[in-house]
């Protein structure tokens, strides 16, 4: 590096650049959070959806599954499972049966644990997954399989 470019100049770019770009980032974050309500439909967050999110977290579902592509890659994407498994007509029935049937105990197959949830809790989780499936994700995932 050339001699005329001094350590002091490099230091100023470090502190100045960091502050400058962080402020831009904060500005964009502010704008994004203002735009979000149009895309997350937050008025649809009922108490059941809130309870469902808490159950999602307290059972560490993210430890095996992805939710909108984030999480673990061991088990299927669940951001759109509501649509994949029956939607309005069929999802809740499917989901209740599914949660109760675990673990499937098919030899050699990846196992999902039994979480001992009540019908009410399963319904809350279903409401959470329904709300999640309605989020505007800029069209992700590419197809129904997640």
């Amino acid at each position: 590096m050339s001699e005329s470019f001094t350590k002091g100049m490099a230091r100023n770019i470090y502190y100045g650049g960091a502050v400058f770009f962080f402020l831009i980032f904060l500005g964009l974050t502010f704008h994004t959070t203002k735009e979000m309500p149009k895309r997350d439909h937050r008025h649809n967050i009922t108490e059941a959806v809130e309870r469902g999110k808490a159950l999602w977290e307290e059972n560490n579902c993210i430890g095996c599954h992805t939710l909108i592509g984030e999480g673990a890659y061991f088990a299927p994407e669940l951001g759109n499972v509501y649509i994949r498994r029956g939607g309005e007509a069929g999802f809740k029935a499917f989901f209740n049966g599914w949660m109760k049937a675990q673990p499937l105990n098919i030899p050699g197959r990846r196992q999902m644990p039994q979480f001992h949830l009540t019908d009410q809790e399963i319904d809350d989780l279903a409401e959470f997954l329904k709300w999640t499936s309605e989020l505007n994700t800029n069209n992700w995932p590419p197809n129904i399989e997640g």
Partner: protein, 461 residues
């Protein structure tokens, strides 16, 4: 023989030793998960995959934090040219952090996660159950307390001593680490906001402030093993960390593409994150440049190897594998696939696991009173460890990338009706997962060789 310039540097030792113990645990659980990927019921319902994964990733993060803390306790006094402000505080914090860490891991393993959440009163302030942030809220508070004590101790040391560029970059990185961790306490019931700010911890750590920590440690070790003028190395350091933040802060946008955010993030995220490899590339140039211009032959060949290896592997894992899937139109297909896992592995290993082993390699012989370097035989074992782990990780990454490409091909690219389901796709990927497990065993053998090197002594004639 005492080879430390400042006696208080020795407090780094328990941090380094404990980091290595946790590292072994991390890899054992990684191998278990690798098997669960192909033989789902290998341990029945004893250790569900999600539990093994929490143990694997949390042990990783915690041992890296122990490593960073050890590194700071070791190099800050020497850079500041003064003893550590309070060695007693450093030791006390070590025990608090170690106890909290062990208790948390045991909690994961011994009771169902929902029970752990209940016992630790998660409902009072829910923060659990999000990837990498699975720790009970009380553990998170403990982490903050330890971090504050640690920063206080280092801050006081730097205030009374010399404020070198290395110390300033390191301390800004560590302060940033603590500040961004505070977002772990923000968990709104709106998933959109939850996810957005979750990345303030995860991305702004690994592609922001942790790069400062890595850069500072690398600069320190390069000065020591090459004897190149400090002015030159420190100028490079500032340039590198400046590039890291200028690209990495807005680069956070590469995680916002599909998260209920405006479309402009697809542009901002793609453009800025595409430049994130630059600081990693600069690190490669600079590490090799400094070693070629060295003014001394340092007897610790292993430490030099680790320093060069870190720069190269961080560039490959973070730079090359990160670039691979960072543009929004590529990420649309690869998001949350095995390609993500491939990148996560090589980046974490290449940048952060290796920088911790670099400073351990340089510092441990001095802390243990052996001298400038371990005996030749021990270094040979250490270098075997280096190569086996590194080659093992290269193959883990390649096999996961193969799995990921095939996964995208079968599951993501076809139209809805023709695409294979997730589970059907996974069955087709089994061969890659078996190969990955094999590479994982090589990695583990490397780790054993590496740890064995600490016990190798020259035959006394």
């Amino acid at each position: 023989m005492n080879t430390l310039k400042y006696q208080s540097q020795a407090v780094a030792k328990p941090y380094f030793v404990f980091a290595m113990i946790l590292f072994v645990g991390q890899i054992l659980f990684g191998l278990l998960m690798g098997l669960q990927y192909v033989v789902g019921d290998i341990v029945g319902t004893l250790i569900p995959f999600n539990v093994a994964r929490m143990v694997h990733t949390n042990l990783l993060i915690v041992w890296l934090l122990f490593g960073f803390m050890g590194a700071a306790y070791y190099l800050v006094p020497e850079e500041a040219e003064t003893e550590l402000y309070s060695p007693k505080l450093a030791i006390a914090l070590f025990w608090i952090f170690a106890a909290a860490g062990v208790a948390t891991i045991l909690g994961y393993l011994l009771v169902p996660y929902a029970t752990l959440a209940e016992y630790t009163l998660n409902n009072l302030w829910p923060t659990m159950g999000r990837e990498f942030l699975e720790q009970p809220t009380i553990t998170k508070i403990g982490i903050v307390v330890v971090a504050l004590g640690f920063l206080f101790n280092l801050g006081m040391t730097i205030l009374k001593g010399r404020k070198t560029a290395i110390n300033m970059v390191l301390i800004t990185g560590l302060i940033g680490l603590a500040v961004f961790f505070l977002f772990a306490f923000y968990n709104p019931s709106n998933l959109a906001l939850d996810k957005y700010f979750w990345w303030f911890v995860v991305h702004l750590w690994v592609e922001g402030v942790w790069e400062l920590i890595m850069g500072a440690i690398l600069a320190y070790v390069l000065i020591k093993v090459t004897g190149v003028d400090r002015e030159v190395i420190e100028k490079w350091l500032y340039v590198i960390v400046a590039m890291a933040l200028i690209t990495g802060i807005l680069g956070t946008g590469h995680h916002f593409y599909w998260l209920m955010t405006p479309e402009y993030w697809q542009w901002i995220g793609s453009i800025f994150s595409a430049m994130e490899p630059l600081p990693f590339f600069a690190m490669v140039l600079y590490a090799f440049n400094m070693v070629n211009r060295r003014r001394r032959e340092h007897p610790n060949k292993a430490a030099t190897l680790w320093a060069l290896g870190t720069a190269v592997m961080a560039f490959l894992g973070a730079g090359v594998w990160g670039f691979l899937h960072t543009l929004s139109f590529v990420n649309y297909y690869t998001h949350g696939s095995q390609i993500t896992a491939a990148h996560g592995h090589m980046a974490f290993y290449g940048a952060y696991a290796m920088i911790v082993m670099t400073i351990i390699s340089y510092a441990m012989p001095k802390i243990r009173g052996i001298g400038e370097a371990n005996c030749n035989k021990a270094q040979v074992w250490e270098m075997w460890g280096f190569w086996l782990m590194t080659v093992g990780m290269v193959f883990i990454t390649l096999f996961l990338t193969g799995a990921g490409v095939l996964q995208v091909w079968l599951q993501r690219l076809p139209e809805g009706g023709e695409a294979l389901s997730f589970m059907a796709t996974q069955e087709k990927l089994a061969i890659f997962y078996w190969l990955r497990e094999g590479a994982g065993v090589v990695f583990f053998l490397g780790l054993v060789a590496y740890l064995y090197s600490f016990f190798v002594k020259e035959k006394t004639a």
